[in-house]
C-alpha cells in the first residue's frame, strides 16, 4: 500500500518543526550559560581580588578557608579513591572480582540512588555514637570531616569509576585472555592504560563535588569548633552573620562566586581529560 505525498509532506514538515524547536532551545540555553559566565567574570573583576581576599567574616578570611577546603579534600580524596578504585575494578572485571565483584555490582547499581548526604550522615552517626570516637572527632575535626566526606562520595565515585573501566571494550579483554594473559596482566597492560584519563577525570569531578556539595557535613563538624572553617562554612557564616564591616555588595557577591569558580575549574579540567581519552582509530565500541 502506498503512502500519499501529502502524508509524506506532513511528516517532513513536523520533523523540520521539531528540529527547529530543539535547535532554538539549545541555542537559548547556550546564550544564557554564556551570559551567566560573563556576568560572573564581570562581578569578580569589579569586586577586585584584593578586596575579596582581605574581607573578614566572623574572624575568617576566604583564602585560608579555601586552603582548608583543599586540605580537607587532599585527605578525603585519596581515602575515597583507594576504596572506590578497588570496588570499581572488582565490579567491572569479573575475572578479577569473582563473586565479590558480582555482589559489588549489585551494590553499585543501588548505591548512587541513595543521596550522598544520607550516607554521610550515617557515617557521622557511627562516629558520634561512640563517646570515645566522638571525642576524637571533636579533637580532630579535619580528619573526621575527611572520613565523612570520603564515605559520602564513595558510592557515586565507585559507580563512575566502574563505568570508566567498562568503557574499555570487552573484546580487548577477551583477546588478551585468549592470548594466554592472566586477568591481572590483561588489566595492567590493556585496561588500565585506556582507563587512566577517565580515572583522573572522575577524581577531579569528585574533588569538585567534595568542595561544594558536601558543605553540610563540614558545617556540622565545624559549627562547634573554631578552627579555620573550610570554604563552604565560610560562605555559610557570611550568609548567617552578614559580610564584614565596610564590605561592599559586589565583594560579598563575588566571594560567593569563588566556590562556583573553583568547582567549575575542576569540572572543566576533568572534561578536558575525558576529551583527551579518544577511542583509538578503528577501536570497537
Amino acid at each position: 500500500m502506498g503512502v500519499s505525498s501529502a502524508a509524506l509532506a506532513r511528516e517532513s514538515s513536523a520533523r523540520v518543526q521539531s528540529s527547529l524547536a530543539g535547535g532554538l532551545t539549545a541555542w537559548l540555553c547556550g546564550v544564557f550559560a554564556i551570559a551567566l559566565a560573563a556576568a560572573m567574570i564581570a562581578l569578580l573583576a569589579r569586586a577586585g581580588w584584593a578586596d575579596i581576599a582581605t574581607e573578614t567574616v566572623n574572624g575568617s578570611q576566604i583564602i585560608p578557608s579555601l586552603e582548608w577546603s583543599l586540605a580537607l579534600i587532599s585527605l578525603a580524596l585519596p581515602l575515597a579513591a583507594l576504596v572506590a578504585i578497588g570496588a570499581a575494578v572488582a565490579a567491572a572485571e569479573p575475572a578479577l572480582g569473582g563473586r565479590a565483584g558480582r555482589l559489588l555490582n549489585v551494590a553499585l547499581r543501588a548505591g548512587p540512588a541513595v543521596p550522598g548526604i544520607v550516607i554521610g550522615i550515617a557515617a557521622l552517626a557511627i562516629v558520634t555514637a561512640d563517646a570515645q570516637i566522638a571525642n576524637a572527632a571533636r579533637l580532630h575535626p579535619v580528619l573526621s570531616a575527611a572520613l565523612a566526606l570520603a564515605a559520602l562520595n564513595l558510592p557515586i565515585m565507585s559507580a563512575r569509576l566502574r563505568t570508566v573501566f567498562r568503557g574499555v571494550p570487552l573484546v580487548w579483554r577477551v583477546a588478551a585472555a585468549a592470548s594466554g594473559a592472566t586477568p591481572g596482566v590483561a588489566f595492567a597492560r590493556i585496561v588500565m592504560p585506556r582507563a587512566w584519563p577517565g580515572i583522573v577525570a572522575v577524581l577531579l569531578n569528585t574533588a569538585g563535588q567534595m568542595l561544594g556539595e558536601t558543605a553540610v557535613i563540614a558545617i556540622v563538624l565545624f559549627a562547634t569548633n573554631r578552627a579555620q572553617p573550610p570554604l563552604p562554612v565560610y560562605l555559610w557564616e557570611m550568609v548567617t552573620h552578614g559580610a564584614g564591616p565596610g564590605s561592599t555588595g559586589p565583594v560579598a557577591a563575588a566571594e560567593a562566586l569563588v566556590l562556583v569558580v573553583a568547582i567549575a575549574a575542576l569540572r572543566l579540567t576533568s572534561r578536558a581529560l575525558l576529551g583527551s581519552r579518544r577511542r583509538p582509530q578503528g577501536a570497537p565500541a
Binding site: 575475572a95 592470548s179 582509530q281
Partner: protein
C-alpha cells in the same frame, strides 16, 4: 549424537557429553567428538547452532562470561582441561583462538604480535623480534607490514589486522588452533588469502574452524560436523558430508533451503 572419527593417528582432542548454557539457553547439548592430531575439522550450521560455543569451551573462554556454564569433558592429549586445577593461561596458549571480528589490541602491530609472549614473561628484545618476524612470515604479512610495525594495529586494514591476530596466536606456540568464522569481516580476496594461510597451517596444527562459508569448510577440512540446535546432526569425511549427506536437514542446509 556421537561422532567418532579417530584415525590411526593419535587423538589430540576428545570431547565427551559437552553441554554449554548461556543463562537459561542451552547452546550445546551433549556433544561428543574426537579429533586426531593435525587434522582439520569444520563446524557448519545456522547462526546460533552452537558452533562458537563449542570452540569457546575448548580453551575455556566461557570462564570470562558469568552467564555461561559448562558440563562434560574436554581432554587434550588425554588430560582433562575443564577441571579446577587447569592452568587456564597455559591452556589458552596451547589452544589459540582467532575470532570473526579481528581481536586487535590497542597496541602497535609489533606489540600485538608479541603480546602473548610478553604475558608469558618473555622480555628479551631479540627473541620477541625473531618471533614477530617468523609468525608474520607464516601469515604472509612480513613484507607488507615491516614499515608499519610501530603503527597502531587498529589503524591497519582489517585483513592485515586479522593476520596480525593469527600471528599473535602462533607466537606463543599453540598445538590446536580455533578459528571462529575467521573471514566474517573480510572481502572475498582477503578471505581467499586467509584460506591459503589456514591451508598451510594444517600441516602443523590441529585445527577447528566454525564457519558460515561452505566453500571454506569444503576446501580446508578433513572432517565436517553439521550442527543443529546445539547438537551434531551429521558428521563425517568432508567430501562425504558435502556430496552424500545422510540427514535431510544437512542436505537442505547445503542446498540453501529452509526447513
Amino acid at each position: 549424537m556421537t561422532a567418532e572419527h579417530q584415525s590411526s593417528v593419535e587423538t589430540k582432542l576428545e570431547v565427551r557429553d559437552l553441554h554449554v548454557w548461556y543463562g537459561r539457553r542451552h547452546a550445546v547439548r551433549g556433544v561428543n567428538f574426537a579429533v586426531a592430531d593435525r587434522k582439520t575439522v569444520a563446524f557448519i550450521g545456522a547462526t546460533g547452532s552452537g558452533r562458537s560455543a563449542i570452540l569457546r569451551a575448548l580453551n575455556r573462554l566461557h570462564d570470562l562470561d558469568a552467564s555461561a556454564r559448562i558440563e562434560g569433558s574436554v581432554k587434550i592429549d588425554g588430560a582433562e582441561v575443564l577441571g579446577a586445577g587447569t592452568d587456564v593461561s597455559a591452556l589458552r596458549r596451547r589452544v589459540g583462538m582467532v575470532f570473526g571480528q579481528p581481536a586487535t589490541l590497542p597496541l602497535s602491530a609489533f606489540e600485538n604480535v608479541v603480546f602473548g609472549l610478553r604475558a608469558k614473561g618473555v622480555s628479551d628484545r631479540a627473541a620477541l623480534e625473531e618471533a614477530c618476524e617468523r609468525t608474520l612470515r607464516r601469515v604472509m604479512l612480513w613484507e607488507s607490514v615491516t614499515k608499519s610495525l610501530n603503527l597502531p594495529a587498529l589503524s591497519l586494514p582489517v585483513d592485515w589486522q586479522q593476520r596480525i591476530c593469527i600471528a599473535r596466536v602462533l607466537a606463543v606456540g599453540p598445538e590446536i588452533l580455533l578459528f571462529d568464522d575467521p573471514a566474517a569481516r573480510l572481502d572475498p580476496v582477503a578471505s581467499q588469502v586467509l584460506d591459503d594461510i589456514i591451508f598451510r597451517l594444517r600441516r602443523d596444527f590441529t585445527i577447528l574452524v566454525a564457519t558460515n562459508d561452505l566453500h571454506q569448510a569444503a576446501r580446508l577440512s578433513d572432517l565436517t560436523y553439521y550442527m543443529v540446535d546445539g547438537e551434531i546432526a551429521e558428521s563425517g569425511e568432508t567430501l562425504a558430508v558435502f556430496n552424500r549427506p545422510t540427514d535431510s536437514r544437512t542436505e537442505d542446509f547445503l542446498a540453501g533451503r529452509a526447513w
